[in-house]
């Protein structure tokens, strides 16, 4: 073989100590990279975005059908239901947009691609969350945002300064709580490889549940959704706060201010679960 390689020599300057890894900045970078990769198939991207918007739009139609037959559910009318649907949709769809890919952990473990994430100086959670990051998931958010905006406009909400200030806090908290639920669901997959469906019953199942006024499910479900898997803070409690209504299931009123605290607790739980899972990671045979 000809040896053109000998012509060139490698630099012999002293080796630099690498800077400490920073994972936060890697998120937008990796997300952008994946979006560019997705943009290689623009038609597919466009169709998928519309598809996602249409599928959530369908849930919205279901809501109208339900309220077409029963004008009130647990004391909530259609506009109030739209508020709850919108809050739940914004929280879950944005959490899905940012963190939804983590549910594919089991698949990456089986394929061995999780190993390659572990040898990069970036948190594997960030790499997993941005894996195949695609703007198409934003399609889901569109109907939810529309419903939320409509409900906020038509409902007779007493816009005190406290409500105006709390609304973004509650929305951000609800997104954080949902992101944590996704992460907890993924962490289970370190221990049970096929736990994706179990996790989905809480993630997608939780979304379907919290799109309706929780009171219709009865006291025990509301209590579970408040204290065990705190999805009540995604739509139910913020809605009660905005509408200034007492909790029909009799839970104390201060709970509607607890969302930021719950978000913090959930973040701690999710971090702990993820770290524990990572320590128990077994990799694959090869």
């Amino acid at each position: 073989m000809a040896e053109p390689s000998t012509a060139r020599t490698l630099t012999t300057e002293p080796r630099r100590t690498p800077p400490a890894p920073r994972s936060v900045g890697a998120y937008p970078l990796l997300a952008w990279t994946w979006m560019r990769a997705m943009a290689q198939y623009p038609v597919s991207l466009l169709l998928l975005t519309f598809g996602q918007a249409a599928s959530t739009g369908l849930e919205l139609t279901a809501l109208f059908f339900v309220f077409g037959h029963a004008h009130q559910l647990a004391g909530f009318g259609i506009n109030e239901a739209l508020l709850i649907y919108g809050l739940a949709g914004v929280a879950f769809c944005l959490a899905d947009f940012f963190m939804g890919s983590v549910e594919r952990l089991g698949e990456h473990v089986r394929k061995g691609s999780f190993d390659t994430m572990l040898v990069r100086p970036v948190s594997p959670l960030v790499q997993l969350a941005t894996d195949e990051f695609s703007p198409r998931r934003l399609g889901k958010v569109v109907p939810a945002v529309a419903a939320l905006c409509y409900a906020l406009a038509v409902l007779d909400i007493d816009w005190t300064p406290a409500r105006i200030l709390m609304l973004p806090v509650l929305i951000v908290s609800s997104i954080v709580i949902c992101c944590c639920v996704w992460t907890l669901g993924a962490s289970i997959q370190f221990f049970i490889a096929d736990a994706r469906e179990v996790a989905n019953s809480v993630t997608y199942g939780g979304q379907a549940m919290t799109e309706y006024p929780l009171a219709i499910y009865g006291r025990s479900v509301v209590r579970t959704a408040t204290f065990v898997v705190p999805l009540a803070f995604a739509s139910w409690q913020p809605a009660l706060f905005l509408l200034d209504r007492p909790d029909p299931t009799g839970l104390p009123e201060w709970l509607r201010y607890a969302a930021p605290g719950v978000a913090l607790l959930m973040s701690l739980a999710a971090t702990l679960a993820w770290r524990t899972g990572l320590r128990h990671y077994r990799s694959t045979g090869s």
Binding site: S5, L10, T12, P19, A20, P21, T33, P121, V122, Y281
Partner: protein, 336 residues
Amino acid sequence: MPDLPAAAAHPAPADPIVDVRGLGRSFTVSEGPFLRRTRRTVHAVADVGFTVPRGAIVGYLGPNGAGKSTTMKMLTGILSPSSGTVRVAGLEPARQRTRLAARIGVVFGQRTTLWWDLPLRDSLALTRHLYHVPATDHARRLAELTELLELGPFLRTPVRQLSLGQRMRGDLTAALLHDPELLVLDEPTIGLDVVSKSTIREFLLKLNAERGTTILLTTHDLGDVERLCRRVMVIDHGRLAFDGDIAALRDSAPAPRTLVVDLAAPTAPITVAGARCVAVEGPRQWLELDANPAAVIAAVAAEHEVADLTLREPDIEEVVADLYRRPAGERGRITA
């Protein structure tokens, strides 16, 4: 390219880059149907200890399932060890995995770390940001690596369209752009053609000689071992069966030397003291030696009319295969 002494320009400091002591990893395996499941513990790696000095090229050999990959995963922080200690570049891999990742390069021959749909150039640019390499350093190293690994023709091609050999060279580049102290290669030449293998081997030798990069590789390709490694470690059933240089490995194995005799005419199998006839093909006979070859050659020449003689050393492949075949009791640990 001449074999340069390792890291001539970079005298090796006293502390080894890899320091492994009493390393073990066991897995709990569940078997059988639900409810009647039994659990047992498998020791994938048991009590492995070695050090790798800076600037070395070390081959890590072993049959499938011997514990090679498990060891490599513990060295890179992918797996936490069940027992023992590991230090790589002064860090504890499992606890300081991300910090370690910034200082080492890892290439898996079986899977790519590149982004499938992106052109190679973009994947490499992304690597620069993930490793926080200054733009000027990145540009210079990319130019060097592009020339040495001949990446030019396919830098703009999406990774999914690259051939295996091109992809491998791309992966190698991605693992080296941040100038790691240690390069860990898991079967780097698997499935490659002769030319690609040769390009990669010559490149690795150059990298080690000129940049002083320590290289630790697992492989099934004994050509890699013979060309690259001064030192080999053989792991079998989770234990180190051999650690030393290649010559010592050859000596340690009882694989016999073979004398190939071409006689003037076909005859019955030769019987002489110190040799055993293992094959006959027309006038050619193969004799396995267990005594001094000179005595056997003299004895054969005295009894038969010999046209030609060849003495064959066992090649490393046979030696390693022989090492694997030895029963566990006899195998023990040979250190040269």
